[in-house]
């Protein structure tokens, strides 16, 4: 059964990620001596920490202990806040989801109509504007855009709070920063997807049958152009989480992105590990959904699987 197979493949990917996290974190040196200054900590204390966090025995022993504890749902303790790593990450998750969700909505709300209009009038003034604007959009680093917005809206105009969370005003600038920069890329993708579709013979033949431009657009152009977009959209949303690391830091937004920065600088391995696995899980699930959606949207792929 293809669905079962896909889920199995997702599980294997997840296991690979978990293992990579293990290797990566162990490869960067003894985690215990990285956290505690060995000169000022007694050997007995170090050993007891080793015992507590599963850093004893051979690497294989450690790996088995690590996987077993993951399977039990035990993701370790955060050294920063002495609480379960899972809790630390989970309490930051809603803020990030809010940010990414709104940014993705903004990206699609700008990208779909603007990209489509640019493609329909390729070479026209709007198209030229979109092409140059989007080049600026993805050449501009996020923090520059973020600081520019702060300078404009907070420092000069005193309209928006520059830092923190709580009201809808706090959301505007972080969402604009992430959403606009990704919309620059997405608009280009939409434009080229529509342009490719416009050249399809089936669009010409629909026109020859005397269908209205409205019918041609909704029944023949969109249905075909949506296929490459379904593939690219989740990748861009994934990239938004990554962009969050910078943007959340700039705006003091208490999300997962800022947590990554904190966890790395304080070598809070359990939290870092938790975040990586969480992001991996989200990406794998999204890809699974995209695969399934694609099969529904493009009958040719499902036929290839069925024969």
């Amino acid at each position: 059964m293809p669905l079962l197979f896909r889920i199995l493949r997702a599980v294997v990917s997840l296991w690979l990620i978990v293992t990579l996290v293990f290797v990566a974190l162990r490869a960067t040196g003894d985690p215990i001596t990285a956290i505690f200054d060995p000169d000022n900590t007694s050997q007995a204390a170090l050993d007891s920490y080793r015992q507590q966090w599963g850093y004893t025995g051979t690497v294989l022993d450690q790996y088995i202990a690590y996987v077993m504890s993951l399977l039990r749902g035990d993701f370790g303790y955060s050294t920063m806040s002495s609480r379960p790593a899972l809790d630390v990450v989970m309490e930051r998750l809603p803020a990030t989801m809010q940010l990414v969700g709104l940014s993705a909505t903004l990206m699609i709300a700008i990208g779909l109509p603007v990209g489509t209009m640019a493609a329909m009038r390729a070479g026209g003034p709007l198209d030229r504007f979109v092409m140059s604007f989007s080049t600026v959009g993805f050449a501009l680093p996020n923090f520059v855009l973020a600081l520019g917005l702060i300078l404009l809206f907070s420092v000069s105009l005193h309209l928006l709070p520059s830092n923190g969370i709580g009201s809808w005003q706090h959301l505007i600038m972080p969402v604009l920063t992430i959403g606009l920069s990704k919309a620059a890329i997405f608009t280009r993708f939409v434009r080229s997807a529509i342009l490719d579709t416009l050249r399809l013979q089936c669009v010409v033949s629909a026109r020859a049958r005397g269908l209205t431009e409205w019918q041609i657009f909704w029944h023949h152009i969109i249905t075909n152009a949506v296929l490459p977009l379904v593939t690219i959209t989740p990748l861009l949303v994934g990239a938004m989480v990554a962009a969050g690391a910078v943007v959340e830091s700039v705006f003091g937004w208490p999300g997962v992105g800022r947590l990554i920065v904190d966890a790395v600088s304080q070598r809070d391995l359990a939290v870092l590990q938790m975040i990586i696995m969480l992001i991996a899980l989200v990406m794998i699930t999204t890809n699974l959904i995209v695969d399934l959606a694609y099969a529904r949207l493009d009958p040719r792929t499902s036929a290839a699987a069925a024969h």
């Binding site: 050249r199 013979q201 049958r209 005397g210 209205t212 249905t223 075909n224």
Partner: protein, 552 residues
Amino acid sequence: MTFSTTDDPVVKVDNLSIAIAGLIPTELVSNVSFEIRKGDYFALVGESGSGKSITCHAMMKLLPFTPIIKGSITVDGQDVYALDKRQLLAYRRKSVGMVFQDPLAALNPVRTIGSQMLETLRIYYPQADADELRNRAIEALRGVHIPEPGARLGVYPHQLSGGLNQRVMIALALLGEPKLLIADEPTTALDMSVQAEVLDLIDELRRKNDLTVLLVTHDLGIVRDRATHIAVLQRGRMVEQGAAADVVSAPKAAYSKELFEAASVEWPGRDAPERKPAPVCLSFDGVNKTFFGSKRDRQMGVGIPAAKNLSFEVRRGEIVALIGESGSGKTTAAKMAMGLEKPDSGSIIIHPSADDVRKPLNVQMVFQHPRDSLDPLMRVEDQLHEVLVVHGWRDKAKRQEHILKTIADVGLQPHVLERRPTFLSGGEAQRVVIARALLLEPDLIIADEPLSAVDVRIQKHILECLQRLRDRLGIAILLITHDLRVVFEIADQVVVLRHGRVVEDVAVSTFTDGARDAYTQMLIDAVPGKAQPAAKSSSVFTLPESPALAAG
């Protein structure tokens, strides 16, 4: 807009010139005029780039670029380039229907046949409910002889054969009961036996519905059989037009003469000299190969057989034609001979050369799409040098000399070496690919449909070139084709494949003797331009002497 009387032509193209707008406008069609009257079967003939497709796209106002149009196109009493948006829609709906070359591309791949038909029907019957529309769709499919029309509505284009898809396209084009049907190379993408069926259907609909047909084609075989009027285009200019019988029996323009000559079917003569049996260089012995779509299909044993107990031989200096329709396993056989696919069982032996047993036989392949098998970013010269460098030719001057010689062998001018493949014509690209295969002086060339991408006249050149090389260098050629005319032209031996089986393996000279296998007979019957009445009087067309064919 003028009122049309019965005497007015359905199509009147007057002094039409079409150019691409730009700094220096490029004129693609120059001063073309023709008229099509009601009930005519008008054939617009020419090679690729002659402007025939552009002319009929211009008639639908469907050109893919912004054109500069001079002259006028009047269809069904309407000046096409004076129509406003609403009138243009009505014109496309009621006056003209259009059918395209590749039916699979002309239908939306992600929507069912039914939804595309209903969408179009809804234009004509805005009041009708779903049931009525559905019935009309079924009726339309039945009208183009699609079996089980009701069941086809829920099917996607890729699930139907090319022939059925083209029937669907025709049904779609005729939903609005237009007066004129424009068919742009409607059978070029189809198998030969299916070609005949589709053309028969157009004939039938023309008679039944009082339809005027404008057929665009490069295939003169089709034209001779069916058209009432023929117009020949060359490089955007009309070189000849007139009643079909006149143009076919006595073409006036030199170009049309050449075209007709190139397209003529030379039925194989039986006075072919008895050939001495040469040593075998390639043999297939009991080869089996089945393709499975998935692992589950493999376990259940439901696969597509590409070779079933396939056995045949190619002898040195012999041209063996492997024919059959798409899906018959021709290309798989070629790939297996090249070692690009592994047979499930049986053996494929490439025999060592006769004079030196230790020397392995040199085999080269020519692929179907010449442009796809050349690197688009590399100059032709560099691509040819590369082949020789890989095989240890160190001396650049020697390489150059050898390349120039080989290029001349295939009839190319040295200046093509400077170009990149994008700037080659289809025929040039094909000859470059053949030259590339010849560089290493092979003993055997496997050519997979080497002519399907090129025009008739160039086909002739390439065939002559292959024949010359065989005669001079003693190269054996395994020629894969679906075109019997090519077989008659140059092959010594014919192997007919069907569903991966050999159904016929005979010398070409005896191929048309009486009915052999029913499938072979069908292929022979499907050769266009065969049963042409004028052909008897014309020296250009050699009719078969065999009684079976003369009767058919």
